[in-house]
Symmetry: C2
Subunit: 215 residues, 2 copies
DNA sequence: CGTTGTGAAATGATTCACAGCT
DNA sequence: AGCTGTGAATCATTTCACAACG
């Protein structure tokens, strides 16, 4: 099981959207859903939905559709949100604070296990119940607590150094908020979130009189 | 000029990355750069860089490469960041605050012209020098100040209503931070930023032992 | 030379369309 | 009758490879 072909990159992004939609449906006590219905709310074709899911197994029932609760379970397993992920936040500025306070993370299995900052004025303060630790302790704490994800919310010119430290201390992935491309070896997963890029895409689309959704 | 074929969607995202890199180079007083060099720092092939740029015109010089300052100008024009964009932020919670405080926006031509919130405890307070206005004034203020971009940083269940109001008041595009797909007509551009999706992508890639960058 | 711009080829992703199951 | 899973066809994007240029 978990048929391991090559997964199209866009598929993974859509799996998150399916999961979110299914969780909304589950809250409304919806039991079953077809690929057609699931696709409609997300602006996708039914074939797209089925193909995406079929990369990972046969989760549906011909003539019936998909069992909402089952599919939620499968997607969580596929995406890895059925486990708990210990994460460290580096940088307790505005972006960092926003991330910590983003309620949804805990429910997805992401727990912020440590927060670091370089600024002595910030170290020692509490953010959402966590004491901010000095950046000098990063290596030791990340290794000791077996933190597997680092969230880099420091200025661009410090980001690469922070990433290197996180990786040396054993993280397997980095969520990067700094506007730079991090150079890392291929064993480490990187996902970047960049507000500037998003706004520029929006400006471009507006200038075009453009159409359609885009993440 | 501004050859208007169909632009591949991934191209637009990369234009932002080129621009960012070029701006860094300009700060270091770099005058010229080849597609090969520009691609290398971003993990792209030289052909990719040239093709992306060639969709919009002929900006390079055979045998020489691209003039950094010229290309910056062209990219800003293409992306629409050579104009000023009046934006409104709706929702002065953690995400909203992080956005307002994100220094880079102003430099890109995005000025936050109004901030709205529904919570009477927040209305009237100042955030980064702007007084928070009551949500009830959204329609009037957006129309009057000719705000063209709305940034939706409210909870998921309020996002669609806010988007509808913004559009009715005349915005041409929305940057959506709420974890829902906004239903809007095709004249309005939407770009979504979703932390949950980004983290799930990261968890998936880690579970795979995966490789490569992804925004 | 080194480097661009660009058709042509190759690869990747989506949509079609239908057999087969419930 | 309704719907899934999937090969085949279509469409989109990237890479190749090279003529033309400074």
């Amino acid at each position: 099981m978990t048929t391991r072909d090559r997964i199209p990159r866009p598929t993974v992004k859509r799996l998150s959207l399916y999961l979110r939609q299914l969780e909304t449906l589950a809250e409304a006590d919806r039991k079953r859903i077809s690929s057609k219905q699931l696709g409609e709310t997300l602006g996708l074709t039914d074939a797209q939905v089925r193909k995406d899911l079929a990369y990972f197994g046969q989760f549906g029932h011909a003539g019936i559709g998909y069992q909402v609760s089952d599919l939620i379970g499968e997607l969580r397993r596929i995406l890895g949100t059925d486990r708990r992920w210990r994460t460290a936040l580096v940088g307790a500025g505005n972006i960092g604070r926003a991330v910590v306070s983003y309620g949804r993370l805990a429910g997805k299995g992401f727990e912020i296990t440590a927060i670091f900052d370089r600024d002595p004025a910030v170290v020692g303060t509490e953010i959402a119940g966590s004491r901010v630790l000095p950046a000098t302790e990063l290596a030791a704490v990340v290794a000791e607590r077996q933190i597997k994800i680092g969230m880099v919310a420091v200025p661009a010119d410090a980001a690469q150094a922070v990433a290197d430290e996180l990786i040396a201390a054993g993280v397997a992935g980095i969520l990067n908020f700094a506007p730079v491309r991090l150079k890392v070896n291929d064993q480490v997963a990187i996902v970047s979130v960049d507000l500037t890029v998003s706004l520029e895409q929006l400006a471009f689309k507006i200038s075009l009189g453009a159409t359609g959704e885009e993440s």
